[in-house]
Amino acid sequence: MADKLDTLNEIWVFIEQARQEINMSSWELLGEARRLASDIKAKVAGVLLGSGVESLQEEIFNRGADKLYMIDDEILKDYRTQTYASGLFEIAKKYMPEIILMGATVTGRDLASAVATHLQTGLTADCTQLEIEAETRLLKQTRPAWGGNVMATILCKDHRPQMATVRPRVFEEAIPSNGSKGELIKETISMKEADVKTKIIDYLPSEQEDVVELENAEVIVAGGRGLASQRNFDMLSQLAEMLGGEVGASRPVIEMGWMPFPHQVGQTGKTVRPKLYFAAGISGAVQHLAGMQHSNVIVAINKDKDAAIFNVATYGIVGDLFELLPEIIKAVSEYKSTKK
């Protein structure tokens, strides 16, 4: 079926940038696109929209793009749905790539939905697994649904491009290789400022103390209801600080107001994949597991030996966290001081 549709054999990755800084999810997508491309002998192309973004091309080529489609225009200075959707729609319609991948970020989801509507094609949200089906060359797009209880594999058979947003921190970043070259294709946008219905008045970065870089943290020390009070999170902060990590929390903790929302890990919070994830007093509801089960090493401490968290834990400890945590903190602190 797929070969009847007149498309360009390319996989496009939308390169998401804000204030000339590229979102890490774009590198993950370039890595994944490269893997998929080898199955269908396609080219990997980045698509970059923005203002004053030409200098970003080098890193995009270094991260493995064969080509880069770029619209550099003042009208694209800030992300706005209307201008970005218009620009991306125009070039997608012109070249009609086989596949377009975007990060399942706030911007990626906002933009992908708008563009897919104009292209009248299928869009699969928040994929965690992508595969090319050998016999049909179709993109198998797998994603969690129903609160993470179910996985669904979605196909877009008769419409092009096949579009998907991909959950951040699920795929590995493409490793940069310096000095890589690629083909730059400059495009223009026809929309004029007078036609744009929105204006960005301001951007307010989160307060410093609210900035929690959970997605990029190598170590996360997370607590759940078992911590019993807000005060006990001090122990987690202490351990996190020693390990150069961040403090995470399960949803009940957020709902009880012990920790602010940016710390929430799980289906309705953040998806993380640190090297080390400590789960203290977290029972392991599916919604929480959905957000952290890709962590490299998981340590779980819970007094209930049947807690679901032990089903995903690399190392489980059944016991009283109020006795265990101080000892762990002590052991880690001694280890760290001998290393210095």
Binding site: T81, V150, V297, F310, K330, A331
Partner: protein, 288 residues
């Protein structure tokens, strides 16, 4: 003297009240915390699964009613679903909506997000013909599909200003047909001024939902929403239901469980011994 008062009055009306018409789109969803898969057939066990109004949509309803209370006007609640989704409309009425419309037809079944946004946008067009729509509000996403695609789909089809992940409505100026909102991004807030009509999707933090008043509950219990089916709407049949959906589900399955490791402590071991054992393992794995 009299003239002067009239002027003030006129100005007051112009500034404050025109009749604002808000449409809130909601979805009846299964309570996904109870979703299970039959391991033999790999199909969803739907039996006995209770339905609720999508939690994000409750905040959309609340925001619609709050805007109505501040600026005047009315709120129409809209849902697409099976006949029993009438209950969702009634819940909307109990939260303070003035009117409700249920879009239901076998021909709509199996619609993906593209087809769903088509049905909803055509229904909103019809509502708009009767009474001009200034603002459409949706929850940021549903908890069963989790796509966040239908709201934007409606905005694009109707050429509305698209405002997703709204955490605060700062102001609405009906005279200028413009509104200012705050959007919640990963690392901060974007303040956007948008021309109306607009569509916004809201996050939970935008408001606290209130309890329904007794009078609204009584009104809701007796409320019979308008029911629009394919005959009423006369939609392009190639754009609805399974046929109108570019995406198809190849298969569904239970998520593969992560391989569990080991419980590292034994009974009778002291916390100190366990902590040291853990430290050794973590050093071996090179994660600290």
């Amino acid at each position: 003297m009299i003239e002067c008062n009239i002027d003030i009055l006129k100005k007051d009306i112009a500034n404050k009240r025109l009749d604002m018409h808000i449409v809130v789109c909601i979805k009846q969803v299964p309570d996904t915390t109870q979703a299970r898969i039959d391991p033999k057939t790999n199909t969803l066990i739907r039996e006995g699964m209770p339905t609720i109004v999508n939690p994000y949509d409750l905040h959309a309803l609340e925001e619609g009613v709050r805007i109505k209370e501040e600026y005047g006007g009315k709120v129409t609640v809209l849902t697409m679903g099976p006949p029993q989704a009438k209950d969702a409309i009634r819940e909307g009425i109990s939260h303070g909506c003035d009117e409700g419309i249920l879009l239901t037809d076998r021909a709509f079944a199996g619609s993906d997000t593209l087809a769903t946004s088509y049905v909803l946008s055509e229904a909103i067009k019809r509502v708009d013909l009767d009474e001009k729509v200034d603002l459409v509000i949706c929850g940021k996403q549903s908890i069963d599909g989790d796509t966040a695609q239908v709201g934007p789909g409606i905005a694009q089809r109707l050429d509305l200003s698209q405002l997703t992940y709204v955490i605060k409505v700062r102001s609405i100026d009906l005279k200028k047909n413009s509104m200012i909102v705050e959007r919640q991004l990963e690392d901060g807030r974007q303040i956007v001024e948008a021309r109306m009509p607009a569509l916004m999707t809201v996050v939970k933090e935008i408001n606290e939902t209130r309890y329904s008043s007794l009078s609204n509950l009584i009104k809701a219990a007796k409320y019979e929403p308008a029911v629009w089916n394919q005959e009423v709407l006369g939609l392009d049949t190639t754009k609805i239901g399974l046929k109108g959906s570019p995406t198809t589900v190849r298969k569904i399955f239970a998520p593969p469980p992560r391989e569990a490791g080991e419980i590292i402590n034994n009974e009778g071991e002291s916390s100190k011994e366990v902590a040291e054992k853990l430290l050794k393992l973590l050093i071996e794995k090179e994660v600290i």
